[in-house]
């Protein structure tokens, strides 16, 4: 059996994502070493110059925004923020999804009913709306944002892992495992998790891009939990759309580039894993 060739989408996706990851790493080192903080290179209004500098001027590679902050640094900090929210939320959602998916297939009948009702309820509920209502209760912070995006984001993972668990539990080797007397926990860790992971991993990558968009949307509405969320920065730079249109364009392109990378990788993986291709 020959190994399948990686399709160009995967290659491009991985290249774009590596670029962003290296950038994030450099940004992290720069922030920690030079600025001494992780998430906030500017103490509020301390570095304000009240001046907007164009790209390639003085020491600023991409110029500064309306508060005189270097756009390059803002972008790096925003990237760190986006990535940490995206990865953390997706991981939590995936965890909840796998567990509830397993419960709704193999749990007690009444546990099944509860987990299905809960999944459907949150699934049909408009996610962003629920997030806004919840965020206005908890106030804006990194922890609250992660918690709320996780609370609203898990149902799609639960649906997928439920379907996949159902499929796997019907396979013949699972029957043999049952006959040998494997416990439910053993089945969960040794059979279900490795079995559903290929399908879930595609959804995971597309999920990260979804979370990053949600986070930026909330930031745009002023509920992002950080001034350095790309959404918040975009909404700020929109106020100088006439005077300095390049700021909006830079932020948009950088954000879209990350999403494109994730979508390419997700799509490519789906094609790659499809047995028919």
């Amino acid at each position: 059996m020959t190994r399948k060739k990686l399709n160009p989408e995967i290659k491009w996706g991985i290249s774009i994502l590596s670029f962003y990851l290296i950038w994030a790493l450099c940004g992290l080192i720069y922030n920690v070493v030079y600025k001494g903080t992780f998430s906030n290179p500017y103490t509020p209004y301390a570095d304000m110059k009240k001046e907007l500098l164009g790209p390639f001027t003085q020491n600023y590679f991409l110029g500064t925004d309306i508060y005189g902050r270097s756009i390059m640094e803002l972008l790096s900090t925003g990237l760190l923020y986006s990535l940490s929210v995206g990865l953390l939320v997706t991981f939590i959602c995936c965890l909840i999804g796998i567990i509830l998916g397993f419960i709704s297939v193999a749990g007690h009948p009444w546990l099944r009913k509860i987990s299905e009702t809960l999944t459907n309820l949150i699934f049909v509920f408009p996610t962003i709306l629920l997030a806004i209502v919840l965020l206005s209760i908890t106030g804006e912070s990194f922890g609250a944002l992660v918690l709320i995006l996780s609370l609203t984001g898990w149902p799609s993972y639960a649906k997928i892992s439920r379907g996949e668990t159902q499929r796997i539990m019907g396979l013949s080797y699972v029957e043999s495992a049952k006959a040998v007397g494997a416990s439910k926990w053993r089945m969960f860790f040794k059979i279900v998790i490795p079995g559903i992971f290929p399908v879930l991993s595609i959804h995971l990558i597309l999920g990260i891009s979804g979370v990053i968009i949600s986070e930026a949307t909330l930031g745009f509405l002023g509920l992002g939990g950080s001034d350095f969320s790309w959404g918040a920065l975009l909404s700020l730079s929109k106020t100088v759309l006439l005077e300095a249109p390049y700021i909006v364009i830079i932020f948009s392109l950088v954000l879209a580039g990350l999403i494109i990378g994730l979508n390419l990788l997700g799509d490519g993986l789906r094609d790659y894993m499809d047995p028919k291709s």
């Binding site: 806004i132 206005s136 209760i137 949307t217 745009f220 975009l234 759309l241 249109p245 028919k276």
Partner: protein, 303 residues
């Protein structure tokens, strides 16, 4: 029937959830209406007038009884009935929603079909790259770029006013680009999936012409595409908060955002009911349509 019952149960649960969440959230609507100079007594009187002094279960049950009668309460700020407000804000949202979903449903699937028929050729690659890029731009970063191009650079359309025909163009375009791209990709992938099915090979064996086969395959893909159109319509018609904020459209989305910021409980609850009802209606309609087109779907649901 079972589905319908489930749907109503879901709406009820969601309503109770929002009702409790809004009241749990800090920020008192009465204090916001009366301002910082109001005395304790004024606040107390006003609260009684609005019925906000009663206990939580009483408020909830009163509200639910009202909902059954078709009364969604009165906005705390605008002093008008929520039903009236919804009707008024529905018009701009509906115009934008129907127009953009209609256009994307017109363009997306056809380009998707074209792309599928030219699979792995230059045209296909170009279409796929462009559509992926377009759907990767979040609305709030796509909209400023479009404004930049069409309003500022070319001076064609006004940015943020609501009224004439030319005000509709930019918001609709903002929505059509991502919606159409999603439809394009869905229909392309679905077509390529279906064309490898055994029944298509039977048609080949029977000696049907290529064009006839493609038409039949396209028809078999229609239910999936319709489902996606339905989902898109239900999302867009529930109010596109971002688009409406950027272009200053007095639609459901802006009403909702105002309502959340002001803690205007009845408005937010009303919009939740509205958006879930719309979702259910559209879902059932497109479900029914899909079954009419492809009877195979009905069989899989029954199992």
């Amino acid at each position: 029937m079972r589905k319908l019952l489930n749907a109503f149960f879901t709406i009820l649960m969601a309503l109770i959830l929002v009702f409790s969440l809004m009241r749990l959230s800090p920020g008192d609507p009465v204090e916001r209406i009366l301002g910082p100079n109001a005395t304790e007594k004024e606040i107390q009187v006003y609260r009684e007038q609005l019925g906000l002094d009663k206990s939580f279960p009483v408020q909830l049950s009163q509200y639910l009884i009202g909902v059954v009668k078709g009364d969604l309460g009165v906005s705390l700020f605008k002093k008008r009935s929520v039903v009236e407000l919804l009707k008024e804000h529905f018009v701009p949202t509906a115009i934008i929603a129907f127009l953009s979903v209609f256009l994307s449903a017109l363009i997306g699937p056809f380009l998707g079909l074209y792309s599928a028929l030219k699979k792995s050729r230059v045209q296909d690659s170009i279409i796929r790259i462009i559509s992926l890029a377009l759907l990767s731009f979040p609305i709030f970063s796509l909209a400023p770029i479009l404004v930049l191009i069409f309003s500022i650079k070319w001076g064609l359309f006004p940015v943020s006013e609501w009224g004439g025909l030319d005000h509709i163009f930019l918001p609709v375009l903002t929505l059509v680009l991502p919606l159409g791209s999603i439809l394009l990709r869905v229909s392309r992938n679905r077509f390529l999936e279906e064309i490898n099915e055994p029944w298509v090979q039977v048609l080949h064996a029977k000696g049907l012409k290529e064009r006839g086969i493609h038409l039949r395959v396209a028809k078999a893909c229609l239910p999936t595409v319709l489902t996606v159109i339905g989902i898109q319509l239900s999302i867009v018609i529930a109010g596109t908060m971002i688009t409406e904020t950027i272009f200053d459209i007095p639609g459901i989305g802006t009403l909702l955002l105002d309502g959340i910021q002001n803690r205007d409980y009845p408005v937010v609850q009303g919009i939740i009911i509205y958006s879930m009802l719309v979702y259910m209606i559209i879902y059932f309609f497109f479900d029914y349509l899909g079954e009419k087109i492809d009877p195979r779907l009905k069989m899989t649901y029954d199992t």
